[in-house]
Symmetry: C2
Subunit: 421 residues, 2 copies
């Protein structure tokens, strides 16, 4: 396609989505749930077709020299298809947030005012290779009453189109417009640029992928973006921490999984207990072959520790590496966190009520925890049922974003002929 | 100042604000309320000084040839100063939203999860001539725990600086950093451009003024903007409307005030009752010297009505002009509203429960009303205590924006050494 044809094509996609969104906004929960369940069934029934289409992507990927880890992320197996379908059925089981009325109260004028929860409208999702995102993201948007435009990675184009066929067939079988979920058919990069310009037909853009993708999308978009940037998470072990809890949390936050955004990257330890607790932690981390990088005070206690540079305090390792800093007290810990945290998730371990209360208030992150592992910062663990990402923005949605984060509210007013005097 | 000096100056303003914001975020309600009350007292005590400084602006404005209406908006009188002070005292009396914890519930893992309301951080406000905005906006931001950078119109620079002096003196007298509220000292336009680039030190930009200002700020800003664009509001009189209520609401929504964004600009009337109700409305509107512009079906009933062009349906008159369209039924009304409304405020007049319920759900505007005047769309009328504007955005804050709209929430998690398994 030429640039002009792509622009025209994308504008048409936008218009189709806007039209479908008004039908979807008014759809009953039962209709949306039926669609989700039918789509889940179709994905399983058409498993062989999905795997055949996925094989085309895997072949092309291997020919292009994608590494084994990427090819693995790209592969659709029976197990992964079943898990996609199961995800859709779970979303069907969640309460419908749309149309929920809250807070209706009478005002002195006699009018009654409150809020109604409403869909955002049209959501554009730009993501990288895993094809299961196609089904997950479409399902969350569908349940929250939003039309979706999906732009997956070019290496997954056949898989994504095949999943989209199942979704559109399921939508139509349930009486909803097929355009409620559209997958962009071209792999041309220009299509992303055009999508980011559609401010009349798209209400919000959600990029899912690496930091590079998210920064590029945020810089170019004329449409508001719900961002999920990096996770530089901290655990601060206070002088008055319970040692057993501190050890468990410091180990779990780092070693439960290395590649996730809610993994701890920097451990802060209060000076008065550093000499006692750091050697115990070193022994525990050694079981996980962790590389430790420490400040000077840490290295006085753990001489085998690598020297941490300034850069370490601002690095998301996503790897078995941990930076450790000894700080004077909680005040110093809060200063360090507010300067270096990516405002994702930070934890204090302490038995002191007053310090816990201050940490909670003064640390400016999307999730602030007391005596719990950073790994809990997750939509499922928080009870959202599912999540489309973890926002590090402060406006609109902050932290794990579930169905509610994909909606807005409007004011509603009931009167009986009331006028303003 | 040269461009380079202005850039440097604005970066310093941003840094000062960020530093002050962390102190303010942790400030107790009593401290913030004390500051608001002290500032209110200072504004009244220093009334003569404010009027002297304001006279400089009025002189310069008259010399520049500002029209009488603009000069009137610019003028500070004893009455207006008293009303500014009263506004601050009212804001001091509102509940502090910051730190409010809600929804703490236990999850199957044993952790307890909920939300804490927090300030946004640093808010930049760009506004046009009325100097009272300086005090109002600073007070709302202060109470919600945000540091503020204020950029008023150049024609009000002396007045704004004088008000800022009172504010900063009041802040210091209450133990808060003066930099919690900064007024940009230069009237150079380049300062606005620099402000809109400070994405590391400013969290949100709120423009207050005409459509031109808001569009310019939105286009140039690298920082998220809470927008208040135009108000093209509708009243739809359904076939099953109570006639007395319909007449009262249609007259009040248009004639209570012409220049406000929640004023009705287009009246939609259901065809079956048009011939009965339109002549009665014409007579009532005649008492207000209103110019009526109608579609063909309206003009069949009211031959004296001016012809409405396509442009009329998309025009915010802010004047004694009303466009009128006869529509077949509520479906046609909703289609017209969703195509032409600015998604500000729209009302249905009906006694029919099912239609009221559908209108409420299907009209996609910040305020949707049943049997009430559009003029109620206002922070005070809704019980917010005060408002910084009426957002026509869908993300973050929608409709009248009060203290809560100037805050965000973070997740908070309580554990007892909980780890993820």
């Amino acid at each position: 396609m030429t640039q002009a044809t792509i622009a025209e094509y994308m504008q048409q996609v936008g218009k189709n989505a806007r039209r479908a969104s008004t039908v979807l906004a008014a759809a009953e929960a039962a209709t949306k749930n039926k669609a989700l369940n039918v789509i889940a069934d179709l994905l399983e029934e058409k498993g062989d077709y999905l795997k055949t289409q996925n094989a085309l992507d895997l072949e092309a990927g291997a020919a292009k020299g994608l590494d084994a880890a990427l090819l693995d992320r790209l592969a659709l197996t029976d197990e992964r298809i079943a898990s996609m379908a199961e995800g859709l059925r779970q979303i069907a089981g969640l309460a419908d947030p749309v149309g929920e009325i809250s807070g209706m109260s009478y005002r002195p004028s006699g009018i009654q005012v409150g809020h109604m929860r409403v869909p955002l409208g049209v959501i554009g999702i730009i993501y990288e290779s895993r094809p299961n995102v196609t089904a997950d993201a479409a399902a969350l948007c569908l349940k929250s009453g939003n039309a979706t435009i999906l732009r997956g990675g070019s290496e997954a184009i056949h898989s994504n189109k095949a999943i989209a066929e199942c979704i559109q067939q399921g939508l139509q079988a349930s009486g909803l417009p097929a355009d409620c979920v559209q997958v962009i058919e071209t792999t041309d990069r220009a299509a992303v640029g055009e999508l980011l310009k559609l401010k009349d037909s798209v209400d919000v853009i959600i990029p899912r992928g690496g930091k590079g993708l998210i920064e590029r999308v945020s810089a170019d978009s004329l449409i508001p973006v719900i961002k999920h940037l990096d996770g530089i998470c901290h655990v601060f072990i206070d002088e008055q921490a319970d040692e057993a809890k501190a050890l468990a949390i410091a180990v779990n936050s780092k070693t439960h999984r290395y590649g996730t955004c809610n993994t701890m990257e920097t451990l802060l330890v209060a000076a008065p207990i550093a000499a006692t607790i750091l050697p115990k932690l070193e022994a525990l981390y050694a079981e996980h072959d962790l590389e430790l990088r420490g400040c000077d005070r840490t290295r006085d206690i753990l001489p085998n520790c690598v020297v941490a540079t300034d850069e370490d305090w601002d690095t998301e390792y996503l790897a078995p590496i941990l930076s450790i800093k000894v700080v004077d007290d909680m005040d110093a810990a809060i200063v360090h966190i507010n300067a270096h945290s990516s405002q994702h998730t930070d934890t204090i371990v302490t038995e002191n009520f007053t310090k816990a209360r201050r940490f909670l208030r003064e640390v400016d992150s999307a999730s602030v925890m007391i005596n719990a592992s950073t790994r809990f910062a997750d939509g499922f663990e928080y009870g959202l049922g599912a999540e489309i990402g973890i926002s590090t923005d402060k406006l609109h949605a902050r932290g794990p974003v579930g169905l509610e984060g994909l909606t807005s509210v409007k004011y509603i007013v009931f009167g009986d002929g009331h006028i303003r005097t």
